[in-house]
Amino acid sequence: MGSVSRRAFMSALALAAMAAAGPAPAQDVKGKLVLYTSQPERDAAQTVAAFRKAHPGVDVEVFRSGTTEVMGKLAAEFAGGQPKPDVLLIADAASMEALKNDGRLQPYPEAKVDGLAPGSFDPGKTYFGSKLITTGIAVNTAAKSRPASWADLAKPEYKGQIAMPSPLYSGAAAIMLGTMTTRPDLGWSFFEKLKADDAVAVRGNGAVLTAVASGEKAYGVLVDFMAFNAKAKGSPIDFVFPAEGLPAVTEPVAMLKTAQNPAAARAFVDFILSDEGQKLASSMGYIPARASVGMPSWYPAGAKINLMPTDIAKVVQSNSDNLKRFAELFGK
């Protein structure tokens, strides 16, 4: 009994000491920080460069790959008992939710979440959305008609013209599936209609972009930034914000329980959520999680994008059933 209370007292003391120290001031953070990310190559490089400018004492080691590859590497490292990364910055909250359920993530209750879009971060403060990557409809400029809503895509005039990322191979697309199938206005019947319209599910967003920009398909279910970046470079492509709203993934940042350099990991999370980090996201062409820093240049001035709320915990829970149903539906 006595020893228990003593231990409780000691840990209370330790907590108090930590609270007193507060978040370490920037100049004190140093050492090596290992980051695993699925950001596109150039964004990853810019993010790291900006972070290092704010914290010159930290050496950042980056592993960048696709979300599936990053999660595969991480799964092997967990199984081998030596996870290497301090922080993760990966495309979708569902992967983070799965890691959280496995007890891999370190909560960061002091993270500054005021001003962040509601629902963009975990209420348990383990992972925090860094931006909002919405999924809408990409349209080849040579296409005959323009859909105004998701429901439009189910019309017969779009038959054979639609490409979408397959939720079987892309976590972000799986979140989209989980979000849209729970909507009363769309639901599974929307996907059944898409299938009846001969929509094809390709491996990922990159493949959708290629199909629509090259004119193989007229319409694509695609993430916003890819469409707008390609458009800015001259691809014959437009982006439609469907009337029902847009599902979004948040590219969350999180620190691992096993982080070797927790101080630097916290500094990285702080940086991503700071005004500076958010401005960087906006300048790279993403809708920032903190709306106050301003929208990316492609954002329709004065417009308000209608986001579809996603219940991540529920999506993760129903994910394997959803994928099975999707595979059966599109496998016919």
């Binding site: 596109p40 696709g66 799964a75 013209q161 972009l209 090259s214």
Partner: protein, 595 residues
């Protein structure tokens, strides 16, 4: 007539030949253990040990994770995977596409090899050069090029006014499309293996048959093809395993039609966020490994039926004169090259010259910005060239140097152990790269026991995986080369007192040099483009070309990816051509593109 000549040259069956060593009891062997034999056994032990570490250890570690996650034995994953109907659908699809792709690769590869190796067509070296080049272009790039060439966005079909309407379903999104592209992609594997072996075809046999009045077609059927059985089977085995393990082509052509094969199913499982992912991946990998091993067992049983040795000191056969058929043959060959090389290459070049996908190329839109970005603004791309070159060249040299003594034992000192060794070399090449990478991570995450060095997150773990994965690409051609050798020269030098290392160096290496060089080339070209392994294993500073290419493609920057692809082809072609400078100092037949 011809067939009699061929069999009279090879009167003894292989089983008799090897029985003396393999059937002697261990006790007798121990009694007779002279220092010379001891040396042989030391070498053999070392070779078997290396194969065990390379081919068996990583996947054994993964399988251990699969059936005993966290150390407790559980057959849940096995039961779950085997009970899922998707597993069996994917297995059926894998078998169908692997058999179909292999058949096509063998037909195309053999036809081209025979034309180049036996007839008097003009420009043979150019044909060889152009026909192996598709190996340099990553499979998914070839698949994409084909897709675009026959789809609504095809610049060629648009020019002809024959482009299908936007949205028409591309016929390549099907099992047939996968088989077609796999067959074209791997035809050079069969071609290179056969091309090297055709050089040893004895002139006297063919001339005797021709003098005896046999028409060329019968010479082909009764002499050439029977004698070419070992390299042909080696080529079949290689392309079967390659088709079985390919991920890029079914990913691009199969996913849209929901045509799932085992490698794409593994990827699905990895992306599915489910618990116990590694277990399911391990079980599915065992399934692929088992199919690959069965394939090679079938090949072995065919090989054992007869003996294919030919006298080693031979002059290359005089080419068949095609006469009236020469021009049509040449036209057919170059048309084929147009389809398998020029078409994808053009698509690659066109994409690399436009600022964004979908912009049509014209004087106003053409730009070199993509090349400038890749070469000058992107430090990783330059590092990747150096890394990929170093890794692929090292892997090619090390594997071939290892494969020559290993194949000596595999072919001439058969035993059950060696047969097993031969089989396990297939496995790391048959499983998707991502699986081997995960297995290597499990193995090398912690410092190596005894030495305390950590390979993880260094370039050495990538090299280890290259050696494990591409060993079979070097081993198959070399083994085929041994099968064709007459052992008398080696035995003569043995009687004269030369020990094994010396016999290898002075007698055997010169004789198997052409097939060994073909193997080294296969390894180099394949590793230079390798993508799925390094996508999980690279670390800052150890990027490979595949990693950079993958990053570009995945971020939607296909124009950068195309520019990088074009540069890869240019660099590789320059390297291949530069070998001509030292060609005079190499043993004859080492360079497939030089007569």
């Amino acid at each position: 007539m011809g067939s009699k000549t061929a069999t009279s040259l090879t009167p003894e069956s292989t089983a008799d030949d090897t029985s003396i060593t393999s059937r002697t009891s261990t006790l007798l062997r121990l009694v007779a253990l002279t220092p010379k034999l001891f040396e042989d056994y030391a070498l053999l032990t070392w070779l078997v040990g290396v194969v065990a570490v390379l081919s068996l250890l990583p996947l054994a570690r993964l399988v251990a994770e699969g059936i005993a996650p966290g150390g407790t034995l559980s057959t849940d994953a096995i039961a779950r995977v085997l009970a899922s109907p998707t597993t069996w659908t994917a297995t059926g699809h894998s078998l169908l596409t692997a058999f179909g792709g292999t058949l096509l690769a063998v037909l195309v590869g053999t036809a081209v090899a025979l034309c180049v190796g036996l007839t008097d067509i003009r420009g043979r070296n150019a044909v060889v050069f152009c026909f192996v080049m598709p190996l340099l272009i990553a499979p998914q790039v070839v698949a994409l090029a084909w897709l675009q060439s026959f789809g609504p966005s095809s610049p060629l079909l648009k020019m002809l006014g024959a482009a299908p309407a936007m949205g028409s379903r591309n016929p390549l999104y099907s099992a047939g499309g996968i088989i077609l592209v796999l067959g074209v992609q791997y035809a050079p594997l069969v071609f290179l293996t056969l091309r090297a072996a055709l050089r040893t075809l004895p002139q006297e046999l063919i001339e005797a048959a021709l003098a005896g009045g046999a028409p060329p077609r019968r010479v082909l059927r009764t002499i050439v093809l029977p004698l070419m059985t070992p390299p042909l089977l080696a080529g079949i085995a290689l392309s079967f395993v390659s088709c079985l393990g390919n991920f890029g082509i079914p990913a691009l052509l199969g996913i849209p039609g929901n045509y799932v094969v085992l490698p794409t199913l593994i990827y699905q499982r990895l992306a599915g966020l489910g618990p116990g992912v590694l277990s399911e991946v391990a079980v599915l990998s065992m399934l692929i490994g088992a199919i690959a091993v069965l394939g090679i067992v079938a090949q072995e049983s065919m090989l054992r039926r007869r003996d294919f040795r030919i006298s080693a000191a031979t002059i290359a056969a005089r080419p068949f004169e095609l006469r009236r058929l020469r021009l049509p043959t040449e036209v057919a060959l170059w048309t084929l090259i147009g389809i398998v090389l020029v078409l994808p290459l053009c698509a690659l070049v066109l994409t690399s010259l436009v600022p964004a996908v979908g912009v049509s190329l014209s004087a106003a839109t053409a730009t070199l910005d993509n090349f400038r970005f890749v070469l000058f603004d992107h430090a990783a791309a330059r590092r990747a060239f150096v890394n990929s070159f170093g890794l692929s060249a090292t892997a090619a040299v090390v594997i071939v140097a290892f494969a020559i003594p290993l194949a000596y034992f595999l072919v001439w000192r058969r035993s059950r152990l060696l047969r097993a060794v031969n089989l396990v070399t297939e496995i790391p090449y048959a499983v998707p790269g991502v699986v081997l990478a995960i297995a290597a991570i499990l193995l090398f995450l912690k410092p190596l026991p005894l030495v305390g060095v950590t390979l993880y997150n260094t370039v050495w773990i990538i090299l280890f995986c290259y050696l494990a994965r591409f060993l079979v690409l070097g081993l198959r051609p070399v083994v085929a080369g041994y099968h064709q050798l007459d052992r008398t020269l080696e035995e003569a030098s043995q009687i004269a007192g030369a020990r094994l290392p010396r016999r290898l160096r002075t007698v055997i290496v010169p004789l198997v040099a052409p097939t060994a060089a073909a193997g080294a080339l296969l390894i180099f070209l394949t590793a230079f483009n390798e993508l799925t392994l390094s996508a999980l294993l690279w670390s800052s500073g150890s990027e490979t070309l595949g990693v950079v290419f993958f990053s570009f493609q995945q971020g939607g920057d296909s124009t950068y990816a195309a520019a990088l692809g074009v540069l890869t082809v240019i660099v590789s072609v320059a390297l291949m051509l530069s070998t001509l400078l030292v060609a005079k100092r190499l043993p004859p037949g080492v360079l497939p593109w030089r007569d």
